[in-house]
């Protein structure tokens, strides 16, 4: 691959100097001007400028070197869904599920773990909403209202060469509407089953001829799933969400060649989180605060040369309070030290003694250890009697002895069964500063380049996760050259080179060839490599829970650190890697008006980190391998002005080879390991949507069909659902109200990914109303 890249770099920069071809290739010939703008000397005082310049125009779909699904605002309105993640169901090969621990929607392209959303890049107007400290996308925390979205461009497949690291399985690029395009006031309200209660208000105005503004606010709430045993509309599962934000968008024309766009936003949210085990006494709900400032300056140097500078700052503050009761011994400082030497032994001693201390032989053992008369070998043998197999060193036994001595009450060691209750918080505050310059230049009709530099600082502050403040700086250069050696052939060669504090430097190349069969028809071959950098918590954790306001305990402390923890430099993870090959066909026909995209692909992923990142996961390794092959199709058919059909289908065949030592694992254990990456995927899926408009009324009927969902379970799920969105638009002069109803019929009652993720009724219905003026 590298050899290819160098070859194309030579062709681009060595072999085909822009000056060798001639600078005027783009300028219209004098003869053309003579007949073309014949009326110009008589009609216009000044020349009509070239507005949609070669640099400004979007790439024609047939020439795009990737599989792309574009969802326009028209479809968003027609489907009537409430959230970004629901829109992703209409993208072929994309699946949505729900993570359990964070109560967060998960979206995966082909296959990925549902628990943490970290292998897809998500951008809002070029701003990454990937969290800085613990890499993930929290969908509810993205401060963009569907009503403000112009379009969503989903690049299906890795694309680090254009979008940088974490553009691993794909890239979801959300483009919001310019405030000039939403002038006026918009009000929306939605209410229905499952606690759905959404409000949206927005006002856009022109401050002057050259300055436009939009202020949007949204509140959104629902009750989430109903739980595994709930029936007839009951909700037995506590997973509600309430989120609200305000954003200000400003667009300004500075002069005839430059413009500035600015966005500001603040957001607050409350997400119910399930209790983590039996120790939790309260629900560790998440309270979140986010904000951002974003600015983009665009400059047109000439008709064929265009640049932008983008800068943003964003913060994400998350607070999770907990009150839990655990054995007091787990807060013993000696247990903390022991955990670092021998986590299994520490866990046994700190958490496991309470249940057995009443046994006379255990009392005797504990006493012997406390007095220092038991050797490591004797202790190992005694633990084996209790079904605990663990190696013990002299030093470790010394720490066990300290724990037992602290628990001695003068008579016996019954304190080892004492429980202490304590508060803890998992506060984490992320910040990101990002600066980027991107330059697009069409050198001549043979060559166009997009190049740039990017600098990012990720900063995180959390006593719990990082023991204070941590930074991670990333520097990136990228280049994509679009070369047209022949009329019918377009070669795209690109790369990103990245340097990062926390991870090794990485080079991600991409090469694509599009053969144009016609102006709107092409075959493409793409080879792309990408990486996902392990995040700061994966790579450099300093994760420990401090108990405060502790109830009375034999240690006599009010505050102490829980023994389980993770410490810096405890691991050295590699980047997750993907190499993808695809063969695609795109065509747009005029009559009938059909746009179709088909692709077959193979993705080879290595060094995947499949383990969940939790306090007790010490053995995290980047050693899972996954191969995915399959085919997918997207078809958009416009039947006159009144009807359109959106049809997608996908076949995904994924094979996972879990890392580590697999010898001795039962088939059930092996399956469970594989399932962590496959839980979200369906082998076959078809989504079809039909929209019809009749006068003031419009309706959209969608059907989702996923077969062999969650494929490794004994009884793979089938997931089917109908959705109908009806709407009536009215017009009373200045005021345009509309009313609508959205009905979702769940055909299969089985849970989505985890057992509690199901609804207790077959129908979800909500009413919507809107007013524009």
């Amino acid at each position: 691959m590298n050899k290819f890249s160098y070859l194309y770099a030579f062709l681009v920069f060595g072999g085909l100097s822009p000056y060798a071809i001639g600078q005027n290739a783009l300028e219209p010939g004098i003869e053309e001007a003579f007949s073309f703008s014949l009326d110009a000397p008589f009609a216009h005082d000044e020349d009509i400028p070239i507005v949609l310049t070669a640099a400004r125009l979007k790439q024609p779909r047939a020439e795009v070197p990737a599989s792309v699904t574009v969802i326009e605002s028209e479809q968003i309105d027609a489907w009537g869904v409430r959230s970004l993640q629901e829109l992703m169901r209409f993208v072929p090969g994309m699946f949505i599920g729900h993570g359990d621990d964070e109560n967060n929607a998960s979206v995966a392209y082909h296959a990925s773990t549902p628990n943490i959303m970290r292998r897809l890049q998500v951008l809002v107007d070029g701003r990454s909403v990937f969290r800085a400290g613990i890499a993930s996308v929290i969908w509810d925390d993205i401060p963009v209202a569907l009503e403000d979205i112009q379009r969503i461009e989903v690049t299906r497949g890795p694309n680090s060469a254009t979008y940088g690291s974490n553009s691993f399985l794909g890239v979801i690029n959300i483009v919001t509407k310019h405030p000039k395009d939403t002038l006026g006031t918009r009000i929306r309200y939605r209410n229905g089953s499952q606690g759905i209660d959404d409000t949206f208000l927005s006002h856009s105005w022109m401050g002057s001829e050259k300055a436009s503004y939009r202020l949007s606010a949204r509140l959104q709430a629902d009750d989430g799933f109903d739980g595994k045993n709930a029936e007839n509309g009951d909700d037995e599962y506590r997973d509600s969400r309430r989120h609200g934000f305000v954003t200000l968008t400003h667009g300004r024309t500075l002069d005839s060649t430059s413009s500035l766009n600015v966005q500001l936003g603040i957001k607050k949210g409350h997400t119910d989180i399930r209790k983590d085990g039996f120790a939790d006494q309260i629900y560790p709900d998440q309270k979140t605060d986010q904000g951002y400032m974003w600015a983009k300056y665009q400059k047109e140097f000439s008709h064929s040369h265009f640049g932008h500078f983008q800068a943003y700052w964003q913060y994400d503050r998350r607070r999770q309070d907990n009150y839990a009761c655990v054995p007091t011994s787990s807060f013993d400082p000696a247990a903390y030290d022991l955990y670092r030497l021998n986590p299994d032994l520490a866990t046994t001693v700190a958490l496991g003694m309470g249940d057995v201390i009443a046994l006379p032989e255990v009392q005797q053992l504990v006493q012997g250890v406390a007095l220092g008369v038991v050797s490591p070998e004797m202790f190992e043998a005694a633990l084996l009697q209790l079904d605990v197999e663990v190696d013990v060193t002299e030093q470790e036994l010394g720490l066990v002895s300290d724990i037992f001595q602290s628990a001695f009450n003068g008579t016996d060691f019954s304190n080892l069964s004492e429980e202490v209750c304590a508060n803890s918080d998992r506060r984490i505050s992320d910040e990101r500063f990002d600066f980027e310059y991107q330059d697009t230049k069409r050198w001549n009709k043979y060559l166009r380049t997009v190049a740039g530099v990017n600098m990012r600082r990720d900063q995180v502050h959390s006593e719990t996760y990082f023991g204070g403040k941590e930074n991670n700086d990333t520097y990136r250069v990228f280049l994509n050259a679009e070369l047209r050696p022949f009329d019918k052939v377009i070669i795209n060669a690109g790369f990103t080179q990245e340097w990062e504090d926390d991870n090794d430097k990485v080079f991600s190349p991409r090469l694509a060839i599009n053969f144009l069969l016609g102006p709107q028809q092409s075959i493409r071959l793409v080879r792309s490599e990408a990486v996902r950098s392990p995040d700061m918590l994966e790579q450099n954790p300093n994760y420990r829970l401090t108990g405060t306001s502790m109830t009375e305990n034999y240690l006599g402390v009010e505050e102490s650190v829980y023994f389980m923890h993770q410490w810096p430099s405890s691991r050295r993870l590699d980047h997750e890697k993907i190499v993808s090959h695809e063969l695609g066909y795109y065509a747009r026909f005029g009559n009938p008006d059909i746009e179709i995209d088909i692709k077959v692909y193979h993705e080879h992923m290595t060094q995947l980190i499949s383990d969940p990142i939790s306090l007790n996961s010490l053995d995290i390794a980047s050693d899972t391998q996954m191969d995915v092959e399959g085919a997918e199709m997207q078809l958009n058919w416009r039947v006159g002005q009144r009807n359109w059909v959106w049809l997608t289908s996908a076949y995904v065949n994924a094979d996972v080879v879990p890392g580590g030592d697999l010898t001795g694992l039962s088939s059930q254990q092996l399956r469970d390991k594989k399932l962590s990456e496959l839980r979200l995927s369906a082998q076959d899926s078809v989504v079809v949507s039909w929209h019809h408009k009749a006068g003031l009324f419009s309706g959209t009927l969608s059907h989702f069909w996923y077969d062999a969902y969650n494929p490794l379970t004994n009884d793979p799920n089938r997931y089917r659902r109908y959705e109908v969105n009806l709407r009536a638009d009215m017009d009373f002069g200045r005021y345009s109200p509309w009313f609508g109803v959205n009905w979702q019929r769940l055909v299969d009652p089985s849970p989505l990914v985890y057992i509690n993720q199901r609804y207790s009724e077959e129908d979800i219905i909500f009413l919507q109303a809107g007013l524009n003026f």
């Binding site: 703008s37 125009l57 024609p60 747009r588 006159g640």
Partner: protein, 291 residues
């Protein structure tokens, strides 16, 4: 046409400024030396077998002695022109510019394509039963250009009058929301160099193409237009002069029935549009107009 030839034509044109005016059957009046006018005069001479000459008209007037007809080229020349005994035809003037001089002119050929033709083109590009939007400064400005209420209804055109809005962008928001395509009517004030940038960028952001108003806007980023090139103008002018001079029947002022269709291929590809063949489409539109 080569650059060398153009320069020669230009020099010839300039030559008329200083040299004695030759006796000519048809005198072309232009406000400044323009290769277009020189070439047009040459073609007319060739087509009709007449002597033609180009004169630069100024405040001090022009000399049409011995001429059988005068061709006033462009609104600038028309403003300086004073009616005389020699029959006059105005070309490269818009319908609205010629309104005041109608009585003194024997005929005129408008420089803009008729808006109904542009609408017919838009219909071919985006299909039937698609609402077509038009911006206009006021109700009267649309009906003047032949797009009265009945025609609007007949052609499925929705007008958006700037008079009804606080600014052009609010009108554009409504139009682009409700219509698939924007057809520009020939109004150089509305579609000025300054406004066109805003209009085109706003429409393009929402994947809506602009049709027209004239060929000058194609390079700017309009998707398609009908237009008459020099050959078409020469053909029509020859028809007008031939009818007037030989048969003494001056054709009434009107649009050029000879035209072509032009696309901005880059914009079409970028909007992923499949367009019909331009030549065939022009012929189909002509046949429809002839009916």
């Amino acid at each position: 046409m080569t650059l060398k030839r153009l320069l020669t034509l230009l020099l010839l044109g300039v030559g008329f400024l200083s040299g004695p005016v030759l006796a000519a059957d048809v005198v072309f009046l232009s406000h400044k030396p323009l290769p277009v006018v020189t070439e047009l005069a040459r073609q007319i001479g060739q087509k009709l077998g007449l002597q033609t000459a180009v004169q630069i008209i100024s405040d001090s007037g022009f000399n049409s002695d011995g001429a059988r007809a005068v061709v006033v080229v462009g609104p600038q020349a028309l403003a300086l022109w004073t009616p005389g005994k020699v029959p006059a035809v105005a070309i490269f003037v818009s319908r609205s510019q010629v309104t005041n001089s109608l009585e003194s002119l024997h005929s005129a050929l408008y420089l803009e394509p008729p808006v109904t033709r542009q609408v017919a083109l838009a219909r071919e590009v985006v299909g039937d039963d698609v609402p077509i939007g038009m911006l206009a400064q006021s109700k009267s400005s649309l009906s003047v250009s032949g797009m009265g209420r009945n025609t609007q209804r007949e052609l499925g055109v929705r007008p958006y009058y700037l008079d009804d809005y606080s600014d052009i962008n609010r009108a554009l928001v409504d139009l682009l929301d409700e219509c698939e395509v924007l057809v520009g009517q020939y109004d150089t004030e509305l579609y000025s160099a300054e406004n066109i940038k805003n209009i085109l960028i706003t429409a393009y952001r929402q994947n809506r193409p602009l049709i027209g108003p004239s060929s000058a806007y194609i390079r700017a980023g309009a998707l398609a237009t009908t237009y008459s090139d020099l050959e078409d103008v020469a053909t029509r002018l020859a028809e007008i002069l031939d009818a007037g001079l030989r048969h003494e029947r001056w054709l009434s002022p009107g649009y050029n029935p000879h035209f072509k269709v032009r696309y901005n291929e880059q914009v079409a590809r970028s909007l992923n549009l499949v367009l019909p063949n331009a030549k065939d489409l022009a012929e189909a539109l002509k046949r429809r107009e002839a009916k």
